[in-house]
Each structure stands twice: as C-alpha cells, then as structure tokens.
Amino acid sequence: MARIHIFLGKEGSGKTTCAAMDSMRFAMYDQMTLLNSMDRFRSLEEIFQVVSGKKDVKVLSNLVITETDLNQKNREQIARVNKNMRRAPHYLSSIESPSIYDLLQFAPGLEEHSTLLVIQEALSSQNYEEIVIDTLSPQLTMKALALPKVILHWLNMMISARTELIAKRNQLAELEDSVSSVVTDKVYERLLKMRDQYSALYSMLNDEELTEFILVINKDTMSLTEATSIKEGLESVGLSIGRIILNKCNPESAWADQVAKLFPEASIEIISTYGRPIEGIEQLSKYSQQIYNYIRA
C-alpha cells in the first residue's frame, strides 16, 4: 500500500514546487513515486520542463507526474449518478432530464467529494510506494478531508433508523401472517457498504504511518494565519500536520523559531530563497538535496 503525502497551504505559497521537490527526493531514495497535482494554476510540465501530451508522464524511471482536473472528476461523478438512475422506477425518469445533470455540477459538496476521490484512489494504489498529492485551495481540501467524518455521522444515523424500520416492517408482516417478511433490504445493504467504504477511508486518513499532511508556509503573516487555520481545521476532524515546509526562508531566521512554537507537533524543513524559480529536473534534483532540517532548541 502506498504512503500518501498531502500538500496544503495558501494559494501561491509554492505548494506545487515543494511537492515536486519532495517527490524528486522520494525518487532519489529509490521509491516508486507518483506526483498528482490538482492545482490549475501551476502546471507540472512547466515545473519539470517536459513537454508531453500524455496524462501520465514518466520524468524519471521511478517518478511519474500526473494532473487531475477536478471538473473532469465532477463530470465522472455525475455520469455515475446518471448510470445509476437507469435502475430507478420508470416514473422517476423525469429526474434524468439533462438539465438536472447540468445543475448537479453545482451541487454543494460535489467538488470536495471529487477531491476526496482523488485521495481515495491514491490510498488504494498498488503501483506506487509514495504518492505526493498537490491540492488546490486549502478551503476546498479542508472540506474534502472533513467529508468522511460528516458522511459517517449521517450513515450511522441512517443505518440505525433503517434497522428500526426493518424491525417494524418484520413485526407487521408477522402480525399480518404475511409470508413476505423483509429478509433483505437493498437500502440497508447499500448503507452498510457505504459505511465500510468511508470507515476504511477515515482510518487510512487518520493513520500517520499511511498519510502525512504537509503544510507549506511562506515568510509572511497571511501565510502563517492561513496555516494556523488549516491546523485548527485538521484537528477538528482528528487529523494533524506531520511536516511543515518553510518555503523561501532563511534557515537562521527567527521566523522558523516562531513557526516551531506554533506547531510543536510537526517536523520542520526549510527551503532557502534562491532568487529564481526552481524549474527543470536538474534544478529540482539539486535543490531537493539542499532542504534544511530545522532543529528545535
């Protein structure tokens, strides 16, 4: 099973570049690595300076880069709902009107669910040892990470309501001497299946051996404020930050001490200011070996 590294941070903090450097480092340690970016603003091909029309690009023998378009993921989800509706009774077919599906793309939570699906697919991947995920906005990612807990809350409530309902239906069938007592309930079975799926996902996200949350912080107050709010958001769903990358920061700076005090649970790494963007496999490889480990006093 692959180990997942999820990069979080304010937009423009350098998440994609840091994720690229991190994946280079894993690849250099002979780990089969996948870098998956959901960022629409910074292309991986631009960072690695490779030109390819393909979805998955092998930049090193053990490093593959790929980009996930969340809009495409949303469309896939809607197509699945559409396919599922073919099982619905005929009179419900009015719901199959194309305009309903056009509206579904704006359904609250759909984009968060797509983000969660990307993480879920990564967690079940058998082809890689390390999977680095570069996320889009922190707000969207926070909601996506909270989703398993929220969904499990509703599923548990619905399963207990359904259990009571089935018991009552059986009781009534018994009283009426009806032979058609409720032995199987499709909804109940589906709910149990969904609960198993989301419980597994929730445990995997909470397993520090499997999932690491990495926060990228710049040397500015806004970035630090955003990082503090991400930390609080993660803690509210039982998750914690494993590592912090201080991007474009002087290793001797007092800024690192300040961050270390605010995030006592996380290890801290520092990427210095190089005065120009880090691009191309050679530079990424060179600078990924020059990441400083902050040593706490």
Partner: protein, 96 residues
C-alpha cells in the same frame, strides 16, 4: 402487499371498537413505519431542500432503491399542505 395499501385497508373499519385487537396493533405499527420512513427520507433527501442531511450526491446514489420513501414523503407533503390550508385561510388567499 405495499405498506400504504395495508394501512389503507385498515381504515375501512368505522370506529376503534369494531377493529379487532390484532388489527389495531397492526394499524399502530403501520403508522410507526410511516413516520420512520418519513424521518429516514428527511435524513436522505433533506439536503435538497436545505435541511442538514447526507450530501445530495450521495442521496442520488440511493434514489433508485428508495421509491417507497419518496412516495411517503410526497404524500406527507400533500397532507401537510392540506392541513395548513384548513388551519390558515390566509394561506389559501395568498395562493400558498
């Protein structure tokens, strides 16, 4: 037999004394089932009309299997609408 048909068949009795004990018990359970189905539907489809509930895209996955709950919800909404109209003539006046 569909649940609602079973429930309706009991209502042919004129008053409670005429109904045998067994049928009165069935009626009570059928009523409880109706309420449970309604609560379940609210948990399932509440997000479509602004009540905190299971996210709508997940409810859509269960939609093909919840025909009975959907019917129950529609019946209940018609009944509530009728009740509110009877209680409040102003609602009829403004066309609600």
């Amino acid at each position: 037999m569909p649940l609602r048909t079973m429930f309706q068949s009991k209502s042919t009795h004129k008053n409670q004394e005429e109904i045998p004990f067994k049928h009165r018990r069935s009626n009570r359970i059928a009523k409880e089932i109706e309420e449970l189905e309604y609560s379940f539907s609210l948990m399932l489809y509440g997000s479509f009309f602004g009540i905190p509930a299971l996210p709508s895209f997940m409810a859509m996955e269960l939609l093909p299997d919840t025909e009975e709950e959907l019917n129950g919800m529609l019946e209940k909404s018609v009944l509530l609408e009728k009740k509110s109209k009877n209680k409040n003539p102003l609602m009829v006046e403004i066309g609600v």
